[in-house]
Each structure stands twice: as structure tokens, then as C-alpha cells.
Amino acid sequence: MRYLREFRDPVLAARLVDAIATVATRRWTIMEVCGGQTHSIIRNGLDQLLAEQVEFVHGPGCPVCVTPLETIDRALAIAARPEVILCSFGDMLRVPGSDTDLFSVRACGGDVRVVYSPLDAVRLAEENPRREVVFLGIGFETTAPANAMAVVAARARGLRNFSMLVSHVLVPPAMAAVLAAPENRVRAFLAAGHVCAVMGTSQYEPLVSSHRVPIVVTGFEPLDLLDGVRTAVEQLEAGRAELANAYSRAVCADGNVVARRTLDRTFTVCDRAWRGIGVIPGSGWRLADEYAEFDAEIRFDVTGLTAEESSECRSGDVLRGMIKPPQCPAFGGRCTPRTPLGATMVSTEGACAAYFQFRRLGADHG
């Protein structure tokens, strides 16, 4: 596959690290927004390479991690119904709800299936006309176009047994919430490249100008990330705050115009609770009224289900960049990928799981 090894080249990486070290006069606090970026930074040890120049603060951009407990509990309740086939991306299956997880529901007889695309769920609905097929539609702007397509396709095919449990979240309001917090330490952002590939970059201009913070659209491979960091550090050192694109092979200013048009028709902006953080106004999408017949919350009447989160889990502080995962008292002890207290310990994109999986020898055995 092209565009993979080229962006993992260690010689070029060393040059970028040198360039960053040359320009940096101090250690800068930079937030990478997306969980995929966190995974790559920790997996490749980029934080070790830049230990003196950059403190990476891991942002709230792991879709699994921020999906509210309520949504998980609603999914669990729906999945336990005998007529339902609940379809989900794989890494949602281990996310703990209040009492159980989808794996356990499946072991107890629930029909829970891992799919690779929401369109697979639409196909399942066609093939199983006597069953109710529900897709767990979560994620950021990245996964939303395919979910929108699934709903549009279900209507076009006249499917009455397909619905979606929607808990979409939006990146720019979350970044605004990070910046607005009085204790905020973040001086620059690496914006999530694939979110921008869909939505374009114009949404970030108001944040750049009102908070005077550099925002660099950044990819996921090691060279992408180092290039994003270099661009951010150069701006910080020069006292500039600009919107920059260090992922131009995937992102253009307007994003994916066709996808955005479909999103506008299919979803409506709403307030959304983020697991561990709380409600952020205007930070989510729900199905538009025109598509309410496909809304699983309405179809299965689970809107009344509410839930309280574990008080021991500090994933909210992790997601807002207030603490690093090992600073949580439960990290690695009460809370491991095996027994996660919070969702940040579940997905490989979650900051806590990334730290646990790729934890350093020095930290563990030093």
C-alpha cells in the first residue's frame, strides 16, 4: 500500500525531530485532538523523541471514549431484546455500561454483530425482514457520512426494520470547550485530519482568531504528526496563531462537499453529553426530524434510560488534558483494559489504553 511506509521513514523522521529541536526554545503544550493520533504518538514513541520540546496532551477525540454511558446502556437494553440484531463497530463491544457490556449481552443470547460498515447493517435488515436491525451510530464527523448514507439507503429501499442509535459528536465545540476552561494549558492543536477531510477547515478559523491559538490539521503516520508538530512549534516560537494544513494529501479547505450536503440533510445539531466531560452545547448530531422513523431511541422507547458514571474514573480529566492517564489512582490497578472503569481504557485509541498497552519500561520498571 502506498502512503504508508513513505510516512514511516525513520531518516526523514529524525530530520523533522532535529528541525523541531532547532526551533524550540522551550517546551510547548500541544493537544492532539484525535484518538488515532494519540495511538500513533504512543505506539511510535514520538513523545519520547520530543520529550524536551513538546508535552502532548491527549484530546477528547476517541469516539468510543466519549460516547456517554447513557448511550451504551440504551444500546445494551436494545441488544437484549429478542427481535433485535444490534450491529456495531468492533471496539464498542467491550465498552462497559452501567452493569454489563455488549460482549456479555451476546454471551447471554443477544444477537450482537460486528460490522465494518453501516451499509452492512442495512444489508442485514434486507436479509432479515422479520428482525429489527439496529446500528450503533457513534463517532465524530469522520464516521457520520457513512451512517447518513445508511439511513438514506434504508429509506430508498423502503426498509421498515432498520434503525440507528445515533450519538454523534462534533470536534470544534469540544476544542472550544477545552480552550474555554479556566485551567486550560493547551497552546496549540493538532486538528484531527480525517474529521477535516470530511468537514474542511473553515470551522476552525473562529477558534484561531478568538483564542489566538495555532491549529494545524494533521495526519496519523509518524511523519504526518512530526510535520504537524513542527508547524505548530514554528508558529508558537514566532508568536503567530494561524490555521495550517499539514495533511494536504487528504484535506482541502471545503472538505468533502457531497458528504457535507448529505450530513446537512440527515442530521440536526443538538446538545450532547460527553462521557467524563458532561454536556457541551451544540456538540452533537441527532437524526433530522425527517428521518425520525429510523431513530432507534424513539422506536424502542429508551429515552428514559439515564445513568451515573463511576466516581473513581477520571477519564474526564484525561480527555480534557488535565491529567495524564498514569496520574489517575485507578490506572493499571483497578482499571485495566481487562477491567475498564471508563471507556478511555477500552478502545486502542483511548488515551488510557494507549498508555497501558505501550507503557514504557522506565515508568514500570525504573
Binding site: 525513520p10 447471554c108 519500561l361
Partner: protein, 375 residues
């Protein structure tokens, strides 16, 4: 990831044969409680068969106590039994792969090669295999015939006989077409002592070829995914390769593992844990085909966690490493063999990977099922 449901309970040095009789007799099934309860689950989860941490716990906390084996029983791919002065290796494995046929092989080849390879990882020359079938009512006889042919041909190529078997049929809906169990026995040559706990500081870690092909091949047909290249299962019998290694260094090969479910990472972690040593390896030295790399990047999987069915990882005394590597490369099943790391007395039980960027990371066993990432 590929064959989602089996859990090896192989215990080295005849754990069940020696320790199983007296204690096992006092277990009253109606009163049985797990001595160390499996912590989270009251039912079997798919992850219990994934070859990772959950599988290990099932063996350690449920099977070994129930069978009366000591809790610190070393785990190996096969048990070693002393019979009339001859050392026999004995192993069993069940095969539940879906789909039954995939690029590069079928459940038939897997069932023959897998058990041969478990024996080979004790250094044993396989003698004979058994084959047990659980068939679902309605399975086409043509399908069963193709699987049986594949088994017969694989056994003939390997020079191992299928000598006994059993067939059961369950009602439609109670099985997924066809499950196969094979058991095998082999003779361990004198002077050969290959056990996981024998890895020692200084040993070189050698992998016999490219990793990840089997898992990606099965996933590509099961989920109908294209990864921009042809990928075939690497299923192969490895006792010939092991014999070639032992021919040049009968005492220098300390430990062998075939990295099936859980991948190379799991094998390295298991050997490190069993031997009380640490492993350091260079990630860039592990051969990963571009199509596997692409598939893993696409799905958010780690190639080191993806299943293989025709590879071994060897822990070899440093003075014998060059000769063993040369012998492996001269054998068709090991032509891409590479030294990937060394065993160290530092950080016992911990496997450390050195990245291309000069940084390090701890490489862990996967928990259970591999879960494709959301985006």
C-alpha cells in the same frame, strides 16, 4: 483471530498424566466452585478462545485445578511423557475456522499442520495423528470430502499418518458446518530439550518468516475485504524445518513456539513469562508483508497480534544462532528467517520492542478477540 474458539490446555512434563488421578477423584461436580473465580464473567466469552489473557486464565483458574494439575504447571504446545525410555510428545487442538476454505488452504490443512507444529515445538518428530469430526446435519458431503482430501494430502506430504478417528453429527443449527479435532504423538530425539522455560539471557530470537498472512487471508474472505494485494494463508507443517535446525544445533535450540492465535507478540510474551526472562526485539527486523501492513493499518490491528499457521519463533543459544539461521534459510519453510532480538535478564516477563525511530514500547498479549477500530 482466525480460528476464534479453541484454547490449548497442553501442559508440559505430563501434568495431567502425573498429577491428575488422585486429586481429580475428589471433585464433586455439583459442589464444584472455581478456586480462583474468573473475575468478570459468569459465562464463556468468545475472548476465552482468543489465545490471549482470557484463554490463559481459563486454563489456569478453571481447567488445571479441575484436572488436578499444579497451578504453576509450565505451559507448552504439547505434553512430554516418558514411556519405556522414550520421550513422547502429545498434543491436541481443535479447529473451528470460518470460512472452511480460504486462500492458501482450508480447515483440513490447518488441522493437520497445526497439531504437527505443536509437536514440532517440542522438537518431536511426529508419528501419527487422530482426527475427530463434529458435523452439522445438512453439511454437504462434497464439502466434507474436500476437507478430508485436504487432510489426507497434508498428512501424506508431511509424512505423518492419520491412524484413528471419530465422527459425531449434531442437529442442524447446533454447529457451524464442521469442527475438527486432531491429536498427535511424536518422538523427541535424545539430547533435545525444548521447553518454553529454557529460554535464557543471551539467546537469539529468530522468526522463521513473514508474519500475519494467515489472519489477514481469513479475515479478507470472511469479511469480504480487499487490501490491494493477494494474501494467502501460510499454513504449513514445520517439523522438517525444526529437524533441520536440530541437525545443526541439537542442544542449542532452547525454546520454540508457533505464533498462531494472538500472533508473534503472544508467543514472545509467553516465552518471557515461562522462562522468567525479558525479550528485546527490533520491530523493523520482523518481516511483515506490505499487504499485511496495509490490512492492519486499515483495520487498526497490530501485525504482531495477527495469527500465523506456518511460522515458528525460536530461542537459540548465541553461539549456535548463525548456524541455525543458515539452516532455516536453506529450508523452504524458513527461507525468510530473520534474527529479530535477544533474551535479556533485564525486565523479566516483559517484551520490549524497539521502533524504527529509536524509541521503545512494551509489547503485550492481546486481551481476547481482536477488535477492529472504529475509524
Amino acid at each position: 483471530m482466525a480460528d476464534g474458539g479453541s484454547a490449548d490446555t497442553g501442559a508440559a512434563d505430563g501434568g495431567l498424566a502425573d498429577g491428575g488421578s488422585a486429586d481429580a477423584g475428589v471433585v464433586d461436580p455439583s459442589r464444584w466452585v472455581c478456586p480462583r473465580p474468573l473475575r468478570d464473567h459468569s459465562a464463556v466469552m468468545l475472548g476465552h478462545g482468543g489465545g490471549g489473557i482470557l484463554s490463559g486464565e481459563l486454563i489456569e483458574h478453571l481447567f488445571l485445578p479441575a484436572f488436578g494439575a499444579p497451578p504453576d504447571q509450565p505451559m507448552a504446545d504439547s505434553a512430554l511423557l516418558e514411556v519405556g525410555g522414550t520421550r513422547l510428545a502429545f498434543s491436541t487442538d481443535s479447529y473451528v475456522v470460518r470460512p472452511l476454505f480460504f486462500p492458501g488452504g482450508s480447515i483440513g490443512e490447518l488441522a493437520v499442520h497445526g497439531t504437527i507444529n505443536d509437536l514440532a515445538c517440542s522438537g518431536a518428530a511426529p508419528i501419527a495423528l487422530s482426527a475427530g469430526f463434529i458435523l452439522e446435519e445438512g453439511l454437504e458431503l462434497g464439502v466434507l470430502g474436500r476437507v478430508a482430501q485436504a487432510m489426507g494430502q497434508a498428512a501424506a506430504r508431511a509424512g505423518v499418518r492419520l491412524v484413528t478417528g471419530d465422527t459425531k453429527v449434531v442437529e442442524r443449527g447446533l454447529a457451524d458446518g464442521l469442527y475438527v479435532n486432531t491429536s498427535g504423538i511424536g518422538v523427541v530425539p535424545s539430547g533435545v530439550d525444548i521447553r518454553p522455560e529454557r529460554a535464557r539471557p543471551g539467546d537469539r530470537v529468530i522468526v522463521s518468516g513473514a508474519v500475519g498472512e494467515h489472519g489477514v487471508a481469513v479475515l479478507s474472505v470472511r469479511e469480504n475485504l480487499e487490501f490491494g494485494g493477494d494474501v494467502r494463508s501460510d499454513t504449513a507443517a514445520l517439523h522438517g524445518l525444526v529437524a533441520a535446525m536440530l541437525a545443526v544445533a541439537p542442544a542449542g535450540v532452547h525454546a520454540l513456539r508457533d505464533p498462531t492465535r494472538g500472533g508473534l507478540a503472544t508467543s514472545l510474551c509467553e516465552i518471557a513469562a515461562a522462562s522468567g526472562t525479558g525479550v528485546e526485539f527490533t520491530e523493523g527486523a520482523v518481516p511483515v508483508p506490505p499487504v499485511v501492513e496495509a490490512a492492519c493499518a486499515f483495520l487498526g490491528l497490530d501485525p504482531l497480534h495477527v495469527a500465523n499457521e506456518g511460522k515458528i519463533v525460536a530461542f537459540v543459544a548465541p553461539e549456535d544462532a548463525d548456524a541455525v539461521l543458515a539452516a532455516m534459510r536453506a529450508h523452504p519453510a524458513g527461507s525468510e528467517a530473520a534474527v529479530i532480538g535477544t533474551v535479556t535478564a533485564e525486565h523479566p516477563g516483559v517484551v520490549v520492542g524497539r521502533t524504527a525511530f529509536g524509541t521503545t514500547r512494551i509489547v503485550a498479549r492481546p486481551l481476547g478477540e481482536q477488535l477492529p477500530r472504529i475509524c
